[in-house]
Amino acid sequence: MSDNEILRMKGIIKDYVLGSGTSRVLKGIDLTVDRGEFLAILGPSGSGKSTLMNIIGCLDVPTEGEYYLSGKKIADQDEASLAQIRNKEVGFIFQQFQLLQRQTAFENVELPLIYANMPEKQRRERVREMLEKVQLGDKMEYFPNQLSGGQQQRVAIARALAANPTILLADEPTGALDQKTGAQIIELFHQLNEEGRTIIMITHDRHIAEHASRIVRILDGELSEGDLTDA
């Protein structure tokens, strides 16, 4: 195990019970990610990308296999410490933004900080700083339905970054956006990675994946390194 290692998975299997039988969606995933990496997980629809991502983000548990995040064995954690891990280790960017519609951009970004027990004054500063970083300093009091898709995705990124997580997890961050806005988001990811942030990005789009420093492919629940020729 290298000192730089932040995430390690070994033999991760995920089965779903469906009616009579079970369907194996992840078929023994081995994956190691180092600090500061910008990893793209590339695969077609239905290949198990989101399933894997949810396990990485501790939103879901594998049926079998070992998973360590920041040196902690995830299977051993209780609900309260899992909540802590989701709050501090992982910043999740969802495919469908997942903003609370009744809360302003500011309040949405504030949420993880509230759960991190950050004092109010410090929290306000941090939220402002995050929204300015994604160029939404002038839209803090807007509600999600008053923002464009790209702006909403940037709010979601600001929220994912607010609690200063170890890893940024992005599930199809450009999936719901047009090409130009998608490119802006990728640009932002580059910038964040250069600042030293570890990023794991899921995509089915080879061109998007090419922006990452490392690519793994997932096909029918099995992972393979590099080689983009037939993606």
């Binding site: 949810n54 879901d60 609900e79 309260a80 909540a83 969802f94 609370l100 009744r102």
Partner: protein, 399 residues
């Protein structure tokens, strides 16, 4: 783990959520509003009615014992020396012998034969403020020969046909009397219990005059005033031993009415009644609580996705539970506050209509507030717990 900003945020969110579903929230609250309003309204009204009755009773007899001593075949009523013994009893500050009879008054050729005659002692007037105008009796009036009287407004109206009666004369049971005073209207509870519309009125004379007119030696009825610092029951016990001595322990020779212990009994009864009414009204609260639980369950299932997201962002189960619990409490507390206002309004209108006292009962308000908070907690607990136990990924995936 739980800090003030979490509570503050939950509070604000619950208000947002209540506002976003105005009609539904209102209908849900209605159960609590009705429950609390009926508890508050009933308790306040019963309290007001009790206070009114007790107030009238105590006007009549706080600090007073009424002794009724018929005596025995050998010894009827109470003699002057017996009265002295009562006067000297420990715990007694003074006594006022009274006597009453029916009689007839005549003025000119007219005769009025339905006159109530009450005989009072001077001491009586120290404890009963009954004079409207003119004068009360003095010690010189009390020897039984002075023919002075105080009449009530009915007597003035029926006999003299004018309220202006001071100094007027008439015959009472054949004796010439002069009017020296006019009585106030009798507003006591006892007077309200008797129909006096067919009577010609009341004449108050020195009590010995009544004894003479009725041909009796002894009085049988005495008001006893309790001395400062003595319990009414202590004074009553002391009186009993004196009276037992006077009548040689003969059964049924006398009775004592203790207004205070009567009032105590009455308070106990009305307290029980209040508790019972409040109990019945709180059934409405339980029904209201079930309404809240229903709304919270709907709210949890509608917001499953939101709960999933909050969990994904690091919300511990206890925080999710707290958020929904606070929402439930806020909902039922708002209902409770509206209910308290409505209940007091109902009690106020009721008090005016029934001509009883309106007194805000703070214990009822505390009860209403406490009840609605408790309903919020009890009926919000299960939905909140359910929300906190949702699996984040299933919750996020739900629509």
């Amino acid at each position: 783990m739980l800090n003030l900003s979490v509570v503050k945020q939950s509070f604000r969110m619950s208000l947002q959520n209540i506002k976003a579903n105005k009609l539904r929230s209102f209908l849900t609250m209605l159960g609590i509003v009705i429950g609390v309003a009926s508890v508050i309204g009933l308790v306040t009204m019963v309290k007001g009615a009790t206070d009114s009755v007790i107030g009238k009773l105590s006007d009549l007899g706080a600090g007073t014992l009424n002794v009724n001593a018929v005596g025995t075949a050998l010894k009827q009523g109470l003699s002057e020396s017996d009265l002295d013994r009562l006067r000297g009893t420990e715990g007694v500050s003074g006594i006022a012998p009274t006597a009453s009879m029916n009689g007839a008054a005549s003025l000119g050729n007219e005769v009025y034969d339905k006159v109530s005659i009450s005989g009072y002692d001077v001491v009586y007037f120290e404890h009963n403020d009954i004079l409207d105008r003119g004068r009360i009796f003095n010690n010189d009036d009390m020897n039984g020969d002075v023919k002075v009287c105080i009449v009530d407004a009915d007597f003035a109206k029926n006999v003299f046909k004018t309220p202006d009666v001071l100094g007027r004369q008439f015959k009472l049971n054949g004796y010439e009397y002069i009017v020296v005073g006019v009585r106030k209207d009798d507003e006591s509870l006892f007077s309200a219990m008797y129909d006096t519309s067919d009577r010609d009125g009341t004449v108050i004379v020195p009590y010995k005059n009544v004894l003479r007119m009725s041909g009796k030696q002894n009085v049988s009825s005495v008001e006893v005033y309790i001395a400062e610092g003595y319990e009414s029951t202590t004074a009553e016990d002391n009186l009993r031993s004196v009276l037992d001595g006077i009548y040689n322990d003969a059964d049924n020779s006398y009775s004592i009415i203790n207004m205070e212990s009567l009032m105590d009994t009455m308070s106990t009864v009305t307290d029980m009644m209040t508790a019972m009414l409040a109990g019945i009204a709180s059934i409405a609260l339980v029904v209201g609580g079930i309404g809240i639980m229903n709304m919270m369950l709907v709210s949890v299932s509608e917001r499953t996705k939101e709960i999933g997201l909050r969990k994904a962002l690091g919300a511990e189960p206890v925080r999710i539970q707290m958020q929904f619990l606070i929402e439930s409490i806020v909902l039922s507390m708002i209902g409770g506050i509206i209910g308290i206002g409505l209940g007091l309004l109902i009690a106020f209108v009721g008090a005016i209509l029934m001509k009883i006292d309106f007194r805000i009962s703070y214990s009822a308000i505390a009860l209403g507030t406490g009840f609605s908070a408790a309903v919020g907690i009890i009926f919000g607990w299960m939905p909140a717990k359910r929300a906190s136990q949702l699996n984040p990924i299933d919750a996020l995936r739900s629509e």
